[in-house]
């Protein structure tokens, strides 16, 4: 059959000049969502109501950190005017359980509450005010159990058990080489214990969204980080078929891991199922958001590091206890990431790591930017500074002596081909030395200046054999542009642009012709979570695979149109032309019609599913624990007021090998944001519990940095093509935070001679450390 061509009346002579090639990869294309966000037009979850909601839901939460539920009395709540229903576990049709890795968290508690934030009931009313009033009138009768407030309490003899099997949630181990022998033979052994704190994600956009059940489909407009997995969890918990759940991600203001666990979705779904045809609105306020959500794990890290006379590392023995809070969340994976990153970017021949997860009656702890690797960097970099002191060696020299080079193994035994940590540190130091270091000359006596550094590595993706894949679809549009469909969630990091730019580059289209549809389970295929620094690499690859298949379709059609072989065709700026003669050309819009007429779909899908290898049980070793590794190095300069303990970061330099910056401005944004968040973790942020109650559930007392606290961050983007990444890119999400914290601590050590071991280094903590150094008794 001869295809019917649309070519007959097409002009062969060009009316316009083809603009020069414009590579979208590496270009600062304006954020496709930028204008709407800065002008306030973007519809975040909380913007979806009150207009869009018919009814309003509120969640009743436990006032006890640990208790048996004796009785839930909803009668007073039901008597509140405008209240349409109060629902408990008995009203949930499915398993009523969620949890990303281990499903152990009741959506609505039935018999027992394990933290002061556990949900017990959902109220639905005609107004938000009525819902709030009714929420406060649900009477829950508790039989209180002893509260396990700290890891020490959880591990003590006779401690109350949160679960029948005890308070140890699990463990992760690394065993390599003979640590005992290496320690015995070592020239120098240093030991210290680090305490990292509980941190909140503090994203701007608190949990909010809408849900409706139309009798066939439950549609939720609710922010998460992995819409397809959330759909499965919601369907299971509520007992409806997964294909009857649709999740649409509203515009989302930050996540940082804080949206990985289920938040409002099941409650919205339950309320919607009970009130068919009505749009339900649910939003948390900041206090509820902080009370309900999981947190970053607080870790106690006991670290012993040994070296020979020249400063070559010989052994590390590390014991970690991790406050898992009340439920598993992603804790077991965080424990593994802590173990697998325990010695960072350094060669250590003998390693022993034991990580224990410990349940307490604090908030569950789970994913947060850095995911266990962040806390370990504080320890291994802190130990490098202490070791340098003990050996009377230069801090940079000690690091460089031990940093891996291509082919060396990291903690898991995985040999790293793209180890660029030397270059990162050299680049950061060179930038630092571009300006003379002012030192301590001329400072008033109460001020001390210092500088410090960090060198870090980070395994990208879920790793350890956990199925990790992305799918994407790209379609040519009738106007000759293209649309990328991805299940990936834009949470502010720049995913939309990244995917548009990758596809546009492959197809030779200008950015203006690119469109994107993301994170709608009805319209997009699964792209995994926006976490683990994985979207650019994983979904980016899937998009590139789809786009390159489309490119082949276009080249075929264009070759026929232009009467040349497909490999003689160039795609540029929305045109296809004969490479040797650009007067022989055709626009993409016209090619679209031609292609359809010739039976081409102009649609393509891409699947990227690389394999990693599970750890060997007991040794934690794996030849390919992670698909690829990222490296970075920071230099920080601080000023410390040794009388008040105040610390000011004066300069901060962050160098990161990102493979290839798809959008350099977005990459720089990720680096600056990571440093800001790291500064907060180093100096300010801490969730304070008292018997399981958060004392600072709000921004009055949960202190995050302001613009006045952050120096201009000097970001250095290093680009070494990652052979497995799209256009050589790998990712940048988490490493900037991981590098920032230890560099600031290192600078404080340099300034004061006191090495902080407990975070955050608030003015008072700094003051106490200095008093102890000076031998002044400090009441605890």
């Amino acid at each position: 059959m001869t295809p019917q061509s649309t070519k007959t009346d097409a002009p062969r002579t060009p009316e316009v000049t083809i603009p020069p090639a414009d590579h979208l990869v590496g270009k600062n294309c304006k954020r496709v969502d930028g204008r709407e966000k800065v002008t306030g037009l973007a519809m975040y979850g909380a913007d979806l109501f009150p207009q869009a909601a018919d009814l309003f839901a509120k969640v009743v939460r436990s006032e006890e950190a640990h208790a048996d539920i004796v009785k839930i009395d909803t009668s007073a709540a039901l008597a509140v005017g405008g209240v349409l229903g109060v629902y408990t576990h008995a009203d949930v049709g499915g398993t009523n359980i969620h949890g990303l890795i281990r499903r152990d968290h009741p959506a609505l508690a039935e018999k027992r509450v394990r933290y002061r934030g556990d949900a017990i009931a959902v109220v639905v009313a005609e107004s938000e005010r009525s819902a709030e009033a009714a929420r406060d009138r649900v009477h829950v009768e508790y039989s209180p159990l002893p509260v396990v407030a700290t890891m020490e309490e959880a591990l003590s003899d006779g401690a109350p058990r949160l679960y029948p099997e005890g308070n140890i949630m699990g463990d992760k181990r690394i065993r390599r080489g003979d640590v005992d022998a290496a320690l015995a033979a070592a020239h120098c052994v240093v030991t210290d214990t680090f305490h990292t704190q509980t941190v909140d994600h503090a994203f701007l956009d608190v949990e909010a969204g809408t849900g409706i059940w139309d009798g066939h489909t439950l549609t939720l407009n609710a922010p998460g980080q992995w819409v397809h997995e959330e759909r499965r969890l919601i369907a299971l918990a509520l007992g409806i078929p997964v294909e009857q759940v649709r999740i649409i991600q509203p515009v989302t203001g930050g996540a940082f891991g804080g949206r990985e666990d289920i938040s409002i979705q099941i409650y919205l779904g339950l309320a919607a199922l009970k009130h068919p045809g009505k749009t339900i609105g649910l939003r948390y306020d900041r206090a509820e958001s902080m009370r309900a959500r999981h947190k970053r794990h607080a870790l106690k890290i006991e670290y012993t590091l040994a070296a020979d006379r020249e400063g070559t590392l010989t052994a590390a023995r590390i014991t970690v206890h991790s406050d898992e809070g009340a439920y598993a969340s992603t804790g077991i994976a965080v424990m593994r990431k802590a173990a697998s990153h325990a010695t960072g970017p350094y060669r250590v021949p003998a390693i022993e790591v034991d990580v224990y997860g410990v349940h307490t009656n604090n908030n569950p702890t789970g994913a947060m930017r850095g995911f266990g690797a962040c806390q370990m960097a504080i320890a291994y970099e802190g130990m490098m500074d202490r070791l340098a002191d003990a050996l009377e060696m230069d801090r940079v020299a000690l690091r460089k002596r031990n940093m891996i080079v291509p082919g060396d193994p990291v903690t898991t035994g995985q040999r790293i081909d793209n180890a660029s940590v030397h270059e990162c540190l050299d680049a950061a130091l060179a930038k630092f030395n571009e300006r003379p270091y002012p030192g301590n000359d001329g400072l008033p006596p109460h001020l001390r200046r210092g500088w410090g550094m960090s060198a870090i590595c980070f395994g990208l993706g879920y790793g350890d054999g956990f199925p990790d894949c992305s799918r994407a679809r790209v379609e040519i549009n009738p106007d000759g542009g293209a649309t990328v469909y991805t299940g990936g969630v834009e949470v502010g990091q720049g995913l939309l642009n990244t995917m548009m730019q990758i596809a546009g580059e492959e197809l030779g289209l200008p950015f203006e012709k690119m469109h994107v549809v993301a994170a709608d389970t009805e319209l997009t295929d699964e792209s995994g979570s926006s976490s683990a620094t994985r979207q650019t690499y994983f979904t980016g690859n899937a998009v590139r695979i789809a786009a390159s298949e489309l490119r082949e379709q276009i080249l075929d059609v264009a070759g026929k149109w232009l009467n040349v072989h497909p490999h003689e065709v160039t795609l540029q700026q929305g045109w296809a032309f004969e490479t040797a003669n650009d007067a022989n050309r055709v626009s993409m819009a016209r090619l679209y019609d031609e292609g359809l007429a010739r039976g081409y779909s102009f649609k393509a899908t891409g699947l990227f599913k690389p394999r990693t290898v599970p750890e060997v049980h007991g040794t934690g070793q794996s030849p390919r624990a992670f698909i690829t590794y990222l490296f970075g190095a920071h230099v920080s300069q601080v000023l410390v007021d040794i009388e008040t303990g105040e610390v000011k970061v004066e300069r901060h330099i962050a160098a990161h090998d990102v493979g290839k910056a798809i959008n350099p401005q977005s990459v720089e944004g990720q680096i600056v944001g990571g440093v800001a968040q790291g500064l907060g973790m180093a100096l300010m942020e801490e969730v304070v519990y008292k018997k399981g109650r958060i004392l600072n559930a709000g921004f009055t007392d949960y202190i995050i940095p302001t613009i006045k606290d952050l120096p201009p961050v000097e970001a250095i983007i290093i680009e070494h093509d990652d052979p497995g990444g799209p256009f050589g890119a790998h990712g940048v999400g988490e490493p900037p935070l991981i590098g920032a914290v230890p560099a600031i601590l290192s600078a404080i050590y340099d300034a004061t001679g006191v090495a902080p071991d407990t975070l955050p280094v608030t003015p008072e903590r700094m003051w106490r450390l200095l008093r102890m150094r000076d031998g002044v008794p400090v009441p605890v």
Binding site: P438, G442, L443, P444, H446, L447, R449, Q637, L639, D641, E643, T644, G645, E646, K648, E650, R651, L683, M684, V688, K690, L695, N696, G698, T700, D701, I703, I704, P705, T706, I707, K708, D709, T762, P763, E764, W767, R768, V778, P779
Partner: protein, 283 residues
Amino acid sequence: MFHQPVDIETALRLRGERPDATVVNGCTDVSVARNHGMLHPREVIDLSRIASLKTIEHDGDNLLIGAGATFAQLGKCHLKALREAALSVAGPAIRNQGTIGGNLVTASPAGDGCVALLAMGGDVELASAARGSRWVDVRAFFLGYRKTELAGDELVTRVRVPYNPVTRWYKIGKRGAVNISLVCAAVARRTDGSFGLAYGCVGPIPLFAPKAERVLARGPLTDALIAEAADVVESEVAPIDDHRGSADYRRAMCRTLTTRLLADIAKNGDQGDADAFSAGAAA
């Protein structure tokens, strides 16, 4: 009911008639209390539209500050402690709203403006429709935790502070802005040579330190005298442990800041700058 009078007479009459109404003058404290469910105002009298309360004037000897003067306005004041205290409050948006009158009546121990006023000394004008106005020494204004001399039918209308004291201010918080004091201190040397010392977050109300001030009155301002005064300050303040900081730290900081601020006055008079980091800030 929401009342927004534009002249002081109407405001005073409303106040007299409606003793249960909540008075706001910037509403930066009341909004937070309401959001946290600690306050449920049914009736509000808003003073922020009364132009006559917004003026800052001087008569040569004294600065007369309208109760509605915002922290943004006070951020341009020539008195260093008051200016820096005002600029240490929250961020620009809140400073455009919050007022010195509101700061006084809220009477928080962390009231930065109150601490600056206590160090400089001065009077607060309280007015009522029925009884006219009276001036109360600012040091007699704070009676207890969030309790003041203000009667149920009265409004704070003006504050009067001496025009020419040499002052210093320092606030320790956990970050560079939008920052509740962990502890703050203001010191003033008045034109008659007497000293005022005041502290925030070290007692149930903004505190001043009369015993230490008497030590300083012996003059001259030597290192030894400063050290002696700082010793006395430690015994005069009454901080507690809370989730923001410990009593020990706060007490120690009162000593540190007293020493630092007085030493700066001794050395630099009205020229100095006690900001910890500006002195050493990198280029």
